[in-house]
Symmetry: C2
Subunit: 483 residues, 2 copies
C-alpha cells in the first residue's frame, strides 16, 4: 500500500514532463565534454565540465565557490593541477532543513573501439534509451538536481530546503583532494547541513526503484615483480633466468579460489557476523537472479539462492584480479620476457573491515607466499592511496522514510532498502566528517553499464528520476532540522 | 693458430674501410623506414623497404623478382596484403657454386616512450655505436651483402659464387607466406642453390665471433578464458561470478616452476639425450656468465655452471609467459572484472621435439588442469600458425670450415661453433625444402638489444662483419658444387 502524492507536486511533475527534450539536450551537451579524470591529457575537459555546471548554478542564483584542491602527482613523477570542486548554496532560511547533494562530473574512459555501438561522447537515443558515457554515471543524476531547482522556480514554489551542492571531477580516480576539502570545510560550508543525498548508484534490477543504505569499501593493491633491467628475448634468455611473470602468477594464484573465497588468512575475521534479523532482510528484497545473469551472461553464478548472492555482493568481501601492467597485452604475439610486471587486484571491504588491517594481512600473506616460492627476484607490494572502509547507514531513519515516500509518489511502489557492492568513499566521509545522515537515491538501472561499454540511461529513468528528486526535496523539507 | 688471410681479399677490405661512412648512411636511410611488420598501419612502410632494397639490387645488375605471397588475415577478421618477397640472382656460371643469402627487412615495434634513449627510427651514433631499430636485426646484415657485391665490383673481382637473395618483410611476424613460396620455388629459383647463409643472429658474447649451427623451434599458445558477455564493475559483480582472470592465472600457474622446469607431463620425453661428446662441446665455448648477466642484471641465473646455462638456452626447451590480453594493462588503477582474457605463452623447442606432439601434450595438460579447477567458465586453447621444430646442422661440414676461415681472415681468431636459443623457422625450411647445408653467420653482438629498447650495432661489427661476408663469399667459392 503506497502513500498518495501531494497535489503540490503536480505542477513540478508537469514542468519536468514538458521540459523533457530540453533536459535531454542539456545532458547531450554534458556528455559531449570528454571529462575523463583518469586521462591527464583530458584534464582541461574535466575543468570545462566543472565550469559548465558552475555557470548553470550561478544562473540559478546559487552562491558558487570554485575550490582549488591542489596538485595531483602522476605515476611518471610529474604533477598536474586537480580539477576544482564546486561548493554551491541556494537559500539560507534558518527554519528549513539543509540538504547537501553530492555528484561527480567526471567519467570513466571510453573508446568506440572497446565495443561501443555508438560514439561514447555523443549522446544518441535508441528506443527511448540515451547512450553515452556519463549518461547514468553520473552526469545525468548530477544535472537533474539543477533541473529540479528550475522546476521549483518555474512553479513559483519556494524551495523546501536550503540546498547545497558538492560536485567534484575526480570521483572515477579516487576523489583525490576531496576528503581534505570536506575536512577543511566541516565547520563552515558543511556546518549547517542536516542531510546528505548522493545520487550515484543504480537500482538493484531494471524495474523497481530502491534506496541504498550501504556500500562496500575498497583496497586496491599493486604487486610488482622484477627479474631484469630490460625486456628480454624469450629465445635468447628463456631457460636462463627465473621470469618475473611466472613468479607474479604464482603469487596471484594464492589470493582467491574459483568459488570466490579469499585465501588470505584471517581476512574474514573482522567481517560483521550475520544475524537472523539481517538475513530476513534479504529474503524480502525484490531481485531476480535470472534477470541479473541475463544481463552479464555468466555461465554460472557462484550462489544459487537470492539471499546468498545478495550477501556475497553486499556484506561479504570479494577479490578481483584486474590485470597486469608491463607484460605483453596487445593482440597478436610477442616473444618477450617482461623485465618487470605489476599485478593489480583489489578487495571490496565490508563492515567492520579496516583498510589498515586488511593491508597488513595481505602484506603478511604475500611475504609468506613469496618465501614459499623461493624466487631470487624481488617484489614490492603497495596499497594505493584512497583505500576506504565500507559505509552503512540506518534505513529506519526518518530521512529514509522521506525518500521512500518520494519514491511512492512517483513510482506508486514501496521501494526496497538495499545495499550495494561498489564503493563511494565520500559517503563515509560525509557520515563521519559531517556527522549527518547520508542516503543514496539512485536514478538509473542495474543494466546501465556504468564503467562498461554502451553506458546508457533510460529516458523514463531520467524523467521520473528528476520527479523523484523534486518529491524527495519536498519530503526532506518536512523533516526536522538536525542541528 | 689461425689461418692467414689471402692477399686477394685486401682490396675488398680496403674498399669497405674507405666506404664506411656511405655504408652507415645507407643503414641510416634503411632505419628511417618504419617497416614494422606487426603493425598493419605501417604495412606500406614494409613494402617501401622491400622496394628500397629491390631497387639497389637492380642497380647492382641483379635479376630481381618481386614475389606476391598473398593476403594476411588479421585478428579482427579483415585481410591485408602481405609484403612481397624479393628473390634476386647475380650470376649463372655453372662452374661456380651457388650461395643463397637470406635476410629480413621488417623490424620489431619500437616507441621512444618504451625507454629508448634515442628516436628508434633515426639512426644515431654514440661512441661508435649505431642506435636504431633494425640496425642489428636485420637491416644492417641484410644490406651488407649488397655492399659486399659493390666491393667486388669496385675491386674488379669476379664474384666467386652465383649469388641469390631471398629477402622478406614478415620475419618478425611469423614469416607468413614465405614457407609456401620456398616450396613453390624449390625446383626453379632454389634448384641450383648449393649453400644457404643466414645473417640474422648474434655473437654469443660481446667479443668473440661465432658461427651458429643450431636454433630452437617455437610453439606459441593462446589460452582464452571467458566469464561474461561484457566487462564488469568489480564492486557490483565481485563475489557473484567466477572470474575469468583467476581461472586463467590458476592454469598459467601449472605450466612452469620457478626453476624454469616445464610442468607439462612428458614434455621432456622427446628431448634428445645428452652424450658425453656433446657435453664436452660446451666446455670449450668462450662464454662469460658474468658478462651475460651484467647485460640483463638478473638477480640470479638459473644455472651456476657455464655448460648447464648454455644447454638450458640451446638444447633444452623453455617456457615463457608473455602476457595477458583483455585484462587491464595500463598504468593506474581500474576496478574491472575483464569479461574475457587471453594468456599468451610459448615454448622453445629442441631436437627432437615436434610441434604436433608438444601441442597435444599441452592440450591434454590444460584439459586436465581445467577439470581440477572445476570452473563453470569456458576456455579455448590455440596453437598459433607458424610453429616450427628446432633446426640443427652439422658444424663439421666444409661449408662451416669455409666460414671459420673467413672469420680467421678478418678477426684473427678461430670462432666458436654455437647454437642459439631463438628461432628462425626459415633455417629449417631451407634445410628440409632446399635440402642444402645452412649456416648462420652473425654480424652483431649479444648485447645488441634485438627486440628490446635501444637496439644497436657497433660500427666495428658493421664494418668487420661486411669484410667477413666478403671473405666468406671467397671461401664458399672454393667449395665444391653440391649438385
Amino acid at each position: 500500500m503506497t502513500v498518495k502524492c501531494p497535489s503540490k507536486l503536480k505542477p513540478l511533475f508537469d514542468y519536468i514532463d514538458k521540459n523533457k527534450s530540453r533536459f535531454i539536450d542539456n545532458l547531450k551537451n554534458a556528455v559531449s565534454i570528454q571529462s575523463v579524470s583518469g586521462d591527464p591529457n583530458r584534464r582541461n575537459e574535466v575543468v570545462k565540465m566543472i565550469y559548465w555546471v558552475a555557470n548553470r548554478l550561478t544562473a540559478l542564483n546559487a552562491t558558487v565557490e570554485i575550490c582549488d584542491v591542489g596538485m595531483q602527482e602522476l605515476p611518471d613523477g610529474t604533477t598536474l593541477k586537480l580539477p576544482p570542486v564546486i561548493l554551491a548554496s541556494l537559500g539560507d532560511d534558518q527554519r528549513k532543513p539543509t540538504l547537501c547533494v553530492y555528484g561527480h562530473l567526471d567519467v570513466q574512459p571510453a573508446n568506440r573501439s572497446d565495443g561501443w555501438v555508438t560514439e561514447p561522447f555523443e549522446l544518441e537515443i535508441r528506443d527511448d534509451v540515451m547512450f553515452g558515457r556519463g549518461t547514468s554515471d553520473d552526469k545525468g543524476p548530477a544535472i537533474s538536481w539543477l533541473h529540479v531547482v528550475e522546476a521549483y522556480n518555474a512553479a513559483t514554489l519556494d524551495l523546501p530546503v536550503n540546498l547545497k551542492f558538492c560536485y567534484e571531477g575526480m570521483e572515477e580516480s579516487g576523489s583525490e583532494g576531496l576528503h581534505e576539502l570536506l575536512l577543511s570545510k566541516k565547520d563552515t560550508f558543511f556546518k549547517d547541513v542536516d542531510y546528505v543525498c548522493i545520487s550515484d548508484n543504480y537500482w538493484l534490477g531494471t524495474k523497481k526503484p530502491c534506496i541504498t543504505y550501504g556500500l562496500r569499501g575498497l583496497c586496491y593493491f599493486f604487486l610488482q615483480v622484477s627479474c631484469a633491467s630490460k625486456d628480454l628475448h624469450s629465445g635468447i634468455f628463456g631457460g636462463s633466468i627465473n621470469e618475473a611473470m611466472s613468479d607474479l602468477i604464482a603469487i596471484l594464484d594464492t589470493l582467491v579460489d574459483k568459488d570466490g573465497k579469499i585465501l588470505v588468512p584471517k581476512i574474514y575475521d573482522e567481517v560483521e557476523p550475520v544475524t537472523p534479523e539481517e538475513k530476513s532482510l534479504y529474503e524480502s528484497i525484490d531481485f531476480s537472479m535470472e534477470e541479473y545473469n541475463q544481463d552479464i551472461d555468466s555461465p554460472q553464478l557462484l550462489h544459487d539462492k537470492k539471499e546468498n548472492l545478495l550477501m556475497a555482493r553486499w556484506r561479504y568481501p570479494s577479490l578481483s584480479i584486474h590485470g597486469i601492467e608491463g607484460a605483453f597485452s596487445e593482440s597478436g604475439s610477442k616473444t618477450v620476457i617482461p623485465k618487470s610486471v605489476i599485478g593489480k587486484f583489489s578487495i571490496r571491504l565490508v563492515p567492520n573491515q579496516q583498510p589498515e588491517t586488511v593491508e597488513k594481512l595481505f602484506r603478511e600473506h604475500i611475504e609468506k607466499q613469496w618465501k614459499i616460492r623461493g624466487s631470487a627476484n624481488s617484489y614490492t607490494f603497495t596499497m594505493l592511496p584512497g583505500a576506504a572502509p565500507a559505509w552503512k547507514s540506518n534505513p529506519d531513519h526518518p530521512h529514509y522514510e522521506a525518500a521512500s515516500k518520494a519514491v511512492q509518489y512517483v513510482y506508486n511502489i514501496v521501494p526496497d532498502f538495499t545495499r550495494e557492492g561498489g564503493s563511494i568513499p565520500v559517503a563515509l566521509t560525509f557520515q563521519d566528517v559531517i556527522g549527518k545522515n547520508v542516503l543514496l537515491l539512485p536514478m538509473g538501472r542495474s543494466d546501465d553499464n556504468a564503467h562498461s561499454q554502451n553506458e546508457k540511461l533510460n529516458i523514463s529513468n531520467y524523467v521520473e528520476g528528476t520527479k523523484l528528486m523534486a518529491a524527495y526535496l519536498y519530503e526532506v523539507g518536512l523533516l526536522e532540522k538536525v542541528v
